[in-house]
Amino acid sequence: MTTRGGTLIRRIEPAVVMAFGCIIGLLFLGSLYSTSFVSPEFLLQQLKVASFLGVIATGMMIVILLGQIDLSVPWVVAVGGMMSTAVASWGTIGGVMAIPFGILCGVALGLVNGLGVAYLRIPSMIVTLAVNAVAQGLMVVHTGGYSPQDASSAAMRALATGTTLGVPNALLVWSVIGTAAVLLLSRTTFGRAVYGIGNSERAVYLSGVKSQRIVMLAFALSGGLSAFGGILLAGYASKAAQGMGDAYLLPSIAAVVLGGTSILGGRGTYLGTVAGVILITLLQSILSVMQIEEAGRQVIYGVVIIAMLLLYGRERPVR
């Protein structure tokens, strides 16, 4: 037992420790401003809000581990929210199908991303931007340019806002997805291949792994998770909205990178992403509690992210 504990501690990366250190630092700064920052209710509330970002960041992390990036998050989130609410308005069958259908739409868009990246070999940054534009176009046609009036289904609302034994359901959802992601990344051949491709796709291909299929699946997974995040958000607000995903692109990338995952791929732990997600959520809520205007929040937010990355997210020099 002790040796296993020992290896666990040795395996924790410095970046993850730094991220958790920053969380404690933020909580400390917040508690100087108001003691309610360290109350259990506030912390639980923060974790609940963090769950939405956590679900989206999980998909983003898998893609970043490949050494790619998914910039289609904003409108895939919106597609998830809008499609699920649209289906939810179809009566009983709609209520049952809302969540699966929303996720399916996200997976479909993710597959397009994956096809472009894995088989057409187009840089992921470009394909996903284009797919984002297409998804936006589809939703504009679907909604007529206005936010849709359809309400989310009871199941969506329960997942996003309900509690079980005092624990928010959203947090439970994130824990389940997080556990699945940890198992997927560390205990399956898929996960090994993801890390491998991030280091050298050439080597993984030569080892007999169908690397292109893995890349495509990873993007499909990311699309599905983004859409699921959108479904939760639609449940939280009880309807979908234009641009509901815009606020999730930068935070999801920042959370993954702040958690110590290399943006070049191949290196990073899910624990770090959890730390990054909590860190970003705390930062956002402290800035809003302090009643700083949107303008100041954007500036502070950008500065803090760059400062933290400079602190521990730097690449090694080339030579």
Binding site: L120, A133, V134, I253, A295, V299, G302, R314
Partner: protein, 326 residues
């Protein structure tokens, strides 16, 4: 003869973008109810030049195999700044223009410092600096508004005698005074070298850091020119995140259409200009064909997706599957 063949092949991307633009524009003008008149051309040119400047900004960074996702936000920030500073007497206006361009340059300097000396990945760093620039724009213009020296604005957005759009002349001046000297300078060659292979460039004694830094600075400056020109067109400033994101996205689309390699090291800002003009014309085509405006975002998205898929034609040329994973 052989020399000519080489030169044409070197500029293949630019020539292709030029051809696409000419064909698109011909279709547009032929179907336009007013036909080929100076006004139609001027309106198209003004919108095209706006995107062309931002696309040039994106190009110089992409050539180093980096990416600048903050160009749209520099564009928005300088637009807001110009709507406050570029007013009053000719001297005050000139000072305002200089201040706006200098601000753009500073934004580029910041990006360059963070990416090169901070050793952060350009994609993350420029997303974060983009948030900062957008925040500053919001400070300047919490609500849309402002003003601009209308004499200067009208002069640069109308027609010269003979019906030539003044904006095209502005663009030509930018190319002749900024891009070509840069391209031919030691630093400019360094930018291409770094984009082709940073390691080889370093080994050959190319000032890698300085070349990349110059690219980011020039990018900020060009984006600021775009922001300035937007102010001349709209007579106001607006801190719109949607606008900034759209221009970032379109600048990448224009760069791709213009034959600039996203892996760096090949292509030219002139190609990106034609890419931008072609992309704008594609958007305008919808209007002359009387399509429902609701379908426009989808149409542009699909064009964009199709354009980036064109890049995969190189897959037909590979001889070994392993080249896929380079």
């Amino acid at each position: 003869m052989r020399d000519w063949g080489y030169r044409i092949r070197e500029q293949r991307g630019t020539l292709l973008a030029f051809l696409v633009f000419v064909v698109m524009f011909a279709i547009y003008v032929v179907n336009h109810p007013a036909g080929f008149t100076a006004n139609v051309v001027t309106t198209a040119a003004n919108k095209g030049v706006l995107l062309a400047l931002v696309a040039m900004a994106q190009t110089v960074v992409v050539l180093t195999s980096g990416i600048d996702l903050s160009v749209g936000m520099v564009f928005v920030l300088t637009n807001c700044l110009a709507s406050a500073l570029v007013v009053g007497s000719p001297a005050a206006t000139a000072l305002g223009v200089a201040a706006v361009l200098f601000t753009g340059l500073l934004c580029g300097v910041l990006n360059g410092l963070i990416v090169i000396y901070g050793r952060l990945q350009p994609i993350v760093a420029t997303i974060a600096t983009g948030a900062i620039f957008y925040g500053l724009a919001l400070v300047l213009r919490p609500v849309p508004g402002g003003d601009v020296n209308s004499d200067l604005a009208d002069a640069l957005t109308s027609q010269l005698p003979g019906g030539v759009p003044a904006s095209l002349v502005v663009l030509l001046v930018v190319v002749l005074a900024l891009w070509l000297p840069f391209r031919r300078s030691e630093i400019g060659r360094g930018v291409y070298a770094v984009g082709s292979s940073e390691l080889a460039a370093y080994m050959s004694g190319v000032p890698v850091g300085r070349a990349k830094f110059a690219a980011y600075c020039l990018s900020g400056l060009l984006a600021a020119m775009g922001g300035l020109f937007l102010t001349f067109l709209t007579y106001s400033g607006e801190a719109s995140a949607a606008n900034g994101n759209t221009y970032t996205l379109y600048s990448i689309a224009a760069v791709v259409l213009g034959g600039v390699s996203l892996f760096g090291g090949s292509g030219s800002a002139i190609g990106a200009i034609f890419g931008a003009l072609a992309f704008r014309t594609i958007g305008d085509l919808l209007f002359v064909f009387d399509l429902d405006p609701l379908w426009q975002p989808l149409f542009q998205g699909i064009i964009l997706l199709a354009a980036v898929c064109l890049g995969s034609f190189r897959l037909f040329r590979i001889r070994n599957r392993l080249e896929l994973f380079g």
